[in-house]
């Protein structure tokens, strides 16, 4: 197989697929990417057996064929090359020679037939939405997944297509993030599945700002198609718990805060963090929020943030990391915190369809 390709296009495609490589060193082929030159396009595929990503680039092909080459090394080489055009030739022995200006590389690959088969995008359930929307929803929820492997279902993000909208939920038992967006699909296509958090991270890496994403859902896997790139992932088995129960029906008080101000104040008090002390006390008073972090080993930090609030004074203890997580991933200028008293859950909202339930820490 022989082809000529532009360096920037090639690098772009390689970088899109480079993260999905096998973690186990026992299957060496998984650290390779499959190269397939066919019909004027070069198709690149990587897989770690759970997720696979395929990206295709238009290119000038002199001779069709296929092979696999070590992806990490290829990215490294292509990044450093100086000229704009790369000529690549791969023999039947799966050894690739690359010529680019004054540089010459010879890379040893593995035969393509050993590469695990990659599922293809098919299925009747198809959803279409804007790339930026899916990306924002993933960003707003994916940080709240559980890292506890024993609660397997909670390590993923629930994606539910129901009632004309997509709902995404992640929770780890102490907090819950929920994002919604209207999506058009046929009523019979209503479904619900749980996306592994590794896939969410990979999608965030792939999704750009423009264009549409198409989602195909099959029995135990889902396929995301964005432009020339296709990601296919296994789903987490099982039913997602009834998350609606976690969302409080109504709250007595509502506080308006400028997002940036709260975030920077929390970031500063968090400098008091240590292994034993992970909680800060937030007191919502008359138009004034005071944050106090007392750490018996280190010292104390105090911050005040102006807020819009005129209700009764409420003092609550939170893990500030858990407040900062959604603040970092929201775009709105102003956010609202709703709560009832120091033992009831707090809700963070903004003008977008987003909701974050946070449980206070119980301090004796």
């Amino acid at each position: 197989m022989r082809f000529t390709i532009s360096r920037s296009k090639f690098l772009d495609a390689l970088q899109k697929i480079q993260n999905v490589v096998g973690a186990r060193s026992t299957l060496q082929i998984l650290s390779n990417a499959m190269f397939k030159a066919e019909g004027g396009r070069l198709q690149l595929t990587t897989t770690d057996l759970d997720i696979s990503v395929r990206c295709s680039v238009e290119t000038e092909i002199a001779e069709e064929g296929s092979t696999t080459l070590p992806i990490r090394r290829m990215v490294g080489i292509v990044r450093e090359l100086s000229e704009q055009t790369i000529e690549i030739e791969i023999g039947d022995d799966d050894i690739a020679t690359m010529q680019c200006g004054s540089s010459f590389f010879k890379i040893i690959g593995l035969p393509e037939r050993d590469f695990p088969p990659v599922p293809i995008a098919e299925g009747t359930c198809c959803y279409r939405m804007e790339v930026a929307t899916l990306r924002d929803m993933l960003r707003k929820t994916s940080y709240a997944v559980s890292t506890d492997e024993t609660r397997r279902i909670l390590t993923g993000i629930m994606m539910g297509f129901k009632d004309g909208k997509l709902t995404m939920v992640a929770t780890d038992g102490r907090r819950l993030a929920l994002a919604e967006h209207e999506v058009e699909f046929a009523p019979e296509a209503e479904t619900e599945f749980v996306l592994p958090s590794k896939t969410a991270a990979e999608l965030l890496h792939l999704l750009g700002d423009e264009g549409d994403v198409r989602i195909f859902v099959q029995k135990s896997q889902a396929v995301f198609e964005v432009g020339d790139t296709t990601l296919c992932t296994k789903l987490i088995d099982g039913t997602y718990p009834n998350y609606r129960q976690v969302i409080p029906g109504g709250c007595d008080e509502r506080v308006g805060i400028v997002r940036e101000e709260l975030l920077t104040a929390l970031r500063r008090v968090s400098l008091m963090k240590s292994e034993k002390s992970v909680s800060a006390r937030l007191t919502f008073g008359d138009n004034r929020l005071s944050i106090i972090w007392q750490n018996v080993e280190v010292g104390e930090a105090r911050e005040t943030v102006p807020i819009k609030y005129s209700g009764k004074e409420i003092s609550v203890t939170f893990n500030p990391d858990y407040i900062m997580d959604p603040l970092r991933n929201l775009a709105a200028d102003e956010i609202y915190i709703e709560m009832s008293n120091s033992h009831s859950p707090a809700i963070i909202k903004c003008d977008e369809p987003f909701l974050y339930v946070l449980m206070p820490l119980q301090v004796n």
Binding site: G173, G250, S340, S344
Partner: protein, 457 residues
Amino acid sequence: MDATRLWSRTCDQLKTVLNEDTFSRWIDILKPVSLEADVLTLAVENDFHQMWIMDNYLPLIKQAIKQAEPETSVQLNFCIQTSELPLPPPAAAVPTSRPRKPRVGAFKKSSAIGTMNPTFTFDDFVIGPSNSFAHAAALAVAQAPGRAYNPLFIYGQTGLGKTHLIQAVGNRVLETPGMTVAYISSESLLNEYVDALQNRSIVDFRTKYRHVDVMLIDDIHFLAGKERLQEEFFHTFNALFESRKQIIMTSDRPASEIAGLEKRLVSRFEWGLVTELECPDFETRLAILRYKQAHAKKPLSDELQTFIAQNVQSNVRSLEGAMLRAISYSSLTSEPLTLDSLRYLLRDLLDKERQADITFDDIQKAVAEFFDVRVTDLSSKRRPRSVAMPRQIAMYLCRRLTRASLPEIADSFGKTHGTVLHACRAIHGRMSVDDTLRQNIRTVVRKLGHDPVSLQI
């Protein structure tokens, strides 16, 4: 106070702290099931509900219970009950004086992973000076799993009751409702691990054992040399230990003498209590015989029992075998069993027993004679080549032909147990390459009345 009353008083407390919405959402739907032995069991709808309550509301609920019932410290326990099923009647009518009776219904039943022999109980374990310490430790652990001695490490020769003891713990713990016990031998653990690797279900493998209350592992010495399994077991051990779950292990030798076992595991195994099951003494052997044939139709006469107890010394399994043989002989032939016919009946067993009685002195004498050195040279400090090699051979043979431990052997040579260990390894290694050495050792072994081939020397 019964469960319903205690819970309604707790709810009154919680109502004052939590707002209405939270209360009706999380607390009001909990159903009190039982209050036994100061453990209040509450029914939840599903595991997500339970998780959310345990993660977020447990301190509050505990505090409220304390206020409702200040005298005793009540523990909390949850069981999952889907709402479709009718709730069982509250356990109010059950008097608390019989807390350990297993009951079906309201409780999450106790469950066991792995099969245990139900006849292995503490009642069936005959206690003597050789095993009383191990028995007492096991009993203490069974009564307070995770609190008494953790981990408990029991070691001893084959057939002395290791498996009996740990299964007795398992069977006792299972009588308490809601407890899960896993009993597994290291060998099946290995098989399961390999299966899990093949089916890529390591997570299931982990969850299976990290959520038991009591983990019993038989023949832990089998882990030797299995590095990845040791790694996996190390993490399981830590997970269990940190959540204060009981771990009990048995082995045929002390942890420090298991070759090919990682140091960090050895140190963890020695963390709790280490007890040894020794060979039973004459009185215990006799007591075991008496106990075992209490239900036999034709019990053996005292004279015969004494004979068996005197001559079958090495382990309880052979002791039972000898007894069984004697009893079945007399019941099959309907002839009265005499001492002579018993001796004939047990001749192979007795031969084997006699062989076991080699002393260090015999070995040292035989080796010294063969290599033409003085017996005192073997335990002297000098170490020219002519003495060092026979000394190492003598140590190696002491290790192979007797049941003595390394420190005991070391004592008889006036050395440390490390020296003995080194000697055993050195000779073992050299034997596989040096045929003359192997022949020499075989000759000595034959002189001592053993068969080198059956010993794989």
